[in-house]
């Protein structure tokens, strides 16, 4: 069991013919992911990596039954690509692209919400259900099938944690990098709820960082009642002050974004907090084994 994606997910890659898109699509296919279509406007009829290319996502969905999209297109066109996927009826859009203007994402998110399309990202490594579906740029070999759910705000930090969990002899149900941009799709709270309802997930790891208040919100969900063990880490405990968001941003969110506050909220909620990142995997293993 898993959340979001599994062995039956049929993936359309938007931007498959680009350099990064092709490199990572090839790795996804090698992993066993069902990449059924690519979309690049103007390149319909080609075949790349054995995958048919379409001009529009609508055509790709109609011809191949794709139900999940992965967006690799450049920043200036990425919000449009996410909306196109939503319009075509895919259930989940994962946006890898970074540097998308925030106000583009404000509009795209509203478009997706109105159509009930789920989004992960942007500016994220993607989603993987080990052994079933790799949807993104994460290195495959560090993952192992298992029952630990991992949610993280940072790409490479997710890899670090996953690697440690695997080294400690455990595996993952699904791993999601939610992305570090101001406006993102699925957040800690929704993913915690999905993991709670997933029979294949025994425990959840929340990997946060300074800024914003999603860690505090996640802690509130766990504090209210959560039936599975939750482990937490927050990067930036020793980051120098002065790099946080503007005053008004902090006030509107009701949080100062400090690592100390986030860790305190997690601890108060009964989350097992790991302060030294190097000990994350061992801590999870010690409690679950």
């Amino acid at each position: 069991m898993s959340i979001l994606v599994n062995k039956d997910s049929r993936v359309v890659v938007q931007g498959l013919t680009g350099k990064e898109g092709m490199f990572h699509a090839e790795q996804m296919i090698a992993y066993g992911t069902k990449v059924v279509a690519g979309v690049t406007p103007g390149k319909a009829g080609q075949e790349v990596l054995g995958v048919p290319i379409f001009n529009t996502v609508a055509e790709a969905v109609a011809q191949t039954g794709a139900d999940v999209s992965l967006v690799f297109v450049p920043a200036a066109f990425a919000a449009d690509a996410a909306c196109e996927a939503s319009d075509a009826g895919v259930k989940l859009v994962v946006v890898i692209t970074e540097h998308i203007p925030a106000l583009d994402m404000v509009k795209a998110k509203a478009y997706l919400n109105a159509r009930g399309t789920l989004m992960v990202g942007p500016n994220c490594p993607g989603v993987i259900t080990p052994g079933e579906c790799k949807l993104g740029i994460m290195p495959a070999y560090i993952h192992q099938r298992g029952s630990v759910g991992v949610v993280s705000r940072s790409g490479t930090l997710t890899y670090e944690v996953v690697h440690q969990i695997s080294e400690a002899g455990l595996g993952q149900s699904t791993c999601i990098g939610i992305g570090g941009d101001p406006i993102i799709g699925l957040n800690f709270v929704q993913l915690l709820e999905m993991f709670r309802d997933d029979e294949g997930t025994e425990a959840v790891c929340l990997i946060g960082e300074i800024g914003g208040d999603v860690e505090e919100k996640a802690a509130a969900v766990v504090a209210a009642s959560y039936p599975k063990p939750v482990f937490g880490f927050v990067a930036g405990l020793t980051a120098p002050p002065g790099k946080r968001m503007g005053h008004a941003g902090a006030i509107i969110s009701g949080s100062k974004g400090r690592a100390q506050d986030k860790l305190a909220a997690m601890e108060a909620a009964g989350i097992t907090v790991v302060r030294a990142l190097g000990e994350f995997g061992a801590t999870v293993a010690a409690q679950l084994k």
């Binding site: 509009k107 994460m138 990997i207 990067a235 790099k243 503007g246």
Partner: protein, 389 residues
């Protein structure tokens, strides 16, 4: 991206927001000449640096004559202005803004901000302007009013009215304030600003609304489609090494320690700084080489780290995803060949193409220590610089 007050006010003017008459000066003579052209009896001379709290640090002076303006400008220009946002070394003042003083009856707070939680722009107003809005939020949160703007919608008049009547303005002022607020929102929407803050917004003795100070943050990701905004960047406001890094697409922040770090991904870079600190050493920098780094960028990143004379050792921590370990390794080898690497290097590689990356490093003639994990990397580098490991 931040801009100076004078640039922010110019931008506000373009969107119909009233600001005091004023002009920029880089010398006392220029300041005097600006003052002489202003139709005013009292003037304000304001240091132009990217930091708040300038008044408390002596960077804002009220003057009664053009001569006095020249003297004030002489004092302020060239000073290292220290405020709670500059750090103890302060910031060199290169420009002052000379304005006609405003007859202030009362001061309000107004801001448009990207509200991450609500996933849209929000407008905030408070009758308690002129003070630190964080203190207002802490002590009297009921005195901050806010409303959200739905994507694709304007700020409707009624929304502005709710906020402005809430601040206790009269009907005439509310009418003025509605147009002013809509100007701020349009600025944010058209120019991709994630924060437009007016603190204070003055109500003058005659009942007119005027923006006395302005702070704007623009979205770095949208600068390409806003070339007029990108042109406002002041390179002297940024550390020269940080500037070089930005031009290369690297995210570098200089710190005061002696362990240079090169990491991919902001989160892992912060976590690496954390473990270096926990191992008893101090990072010299934050350097996120990002996902799209190529050999040239990594070579330059290396050079930037080594440009800092405090660096006594370098820790490279790469978990390859979109950035492949072989690309990183080739960059490190290329850089080491170009520059005479004098400081010890600790490398921890994991992720996409890790075996190829390790092979490239091992076959090169550079001298480095390999670490198998983050904790090991941190304690090795701490041991090298004499920290407690």
């Amino acid at each position: 991206m931040n801009v100076h007050e004078y640039q922010a006010k110019e931008m506000l003017g373009l969107f119909g927001v009233p600001v005091p008459a004023g002009g920029l000066a880089e010398t006392p003579e220029e300041a005097k000449s600006v003052a002489e052209k202003l139709d005013a009896a009292t003037f304000v001379v304001k240091a132009q640096i990217h930091a708040g709290g300038r008044g408390k640090g002596g960077g804002i002076k009220v003057c009664q004559s053009a001569e006095e303006v020249a003297r004030a400008a002489d004092e302020i220009l060239g000073m290292h202005l220290v405020t709670h946002q500059t750090g103890p070394e302060g910031k060199l003042v290169r420009k002052v803004y000379v304005e006609a003083a405003t007859d202030i009856a009362r001061e309000l707070y107004l801001a448009v901000v990207l509200d991450r939680g609500a996933e849209r722009l929000a407008v905030m107003a408070s009758p308690d302007g002129g003070m630190d809005i964080e203190e207002v939020a802490e002590a009297t949160p009921e005195r901050i009013f806010s409303t959200r703007i739905d994507p694709g919608q304007p700020l409707w008049d009624f929304q502005a009215r709710q906020l402005l009547f809430g601040c206790g303005l009269d009907a005439g002022q509310v009418r003025q304030g509605t147009g002013l607020m809509q100007g701020l929102v349009k600025l944010a929407q058209d120019k991709d600003a994630t924060l437009v803050e007016i603190n204070p917004l003055a109500v003058t003795g005659e009942g007119q609304l005027v923006a006395l100070d302005a702070k704007i943050n623009f979205d770095d990701s949208a600068l390409r489609r806003n070339p007029d905004v990108a042109a406002l960047k002041d390179p002297t406001e940024t550390d020269p090494l940080e500037l070089t890094a930005t031009d290369l697409g690297l995210n570098y922040i200089r710190l005061d320690g002696n362990v240079g770090t090169m990491v991919n991904g902001a989160g892992l870079a912060m976590a690496t700084m954390d473990v270096v600190n926990m191992a008893g050493a101090k990072p010299a920098n934050f350097l996120d080489v990002g996902g799209g780094a190529d050999e040239e960028m990594i070579t330059k990143g290396f050079e930037i780290i080594l440009d800092d004379p405090n660096v006594e050792a370098i820790l490279i921590n790469i978990f390859g995803g979109i950035l492949r370990c072989d690309v990183l390794a080739a960059g490190v080898v290329g850089a080491a060949q170009k520059i005479d690497l004098q400081v010890p290097l600790v490398v921890r590689l994991e992720g996409t193409n890790v075996e190829e990356g390790k092979r490239i490093l091992n076959e090169s003639d550079i001298d480095f220590e390999v670490a198998g994990s983050m904790s090991e990397a941190a304690s090795k580098v701490a041991a090298v610089v004499g920290g407690v490991s």
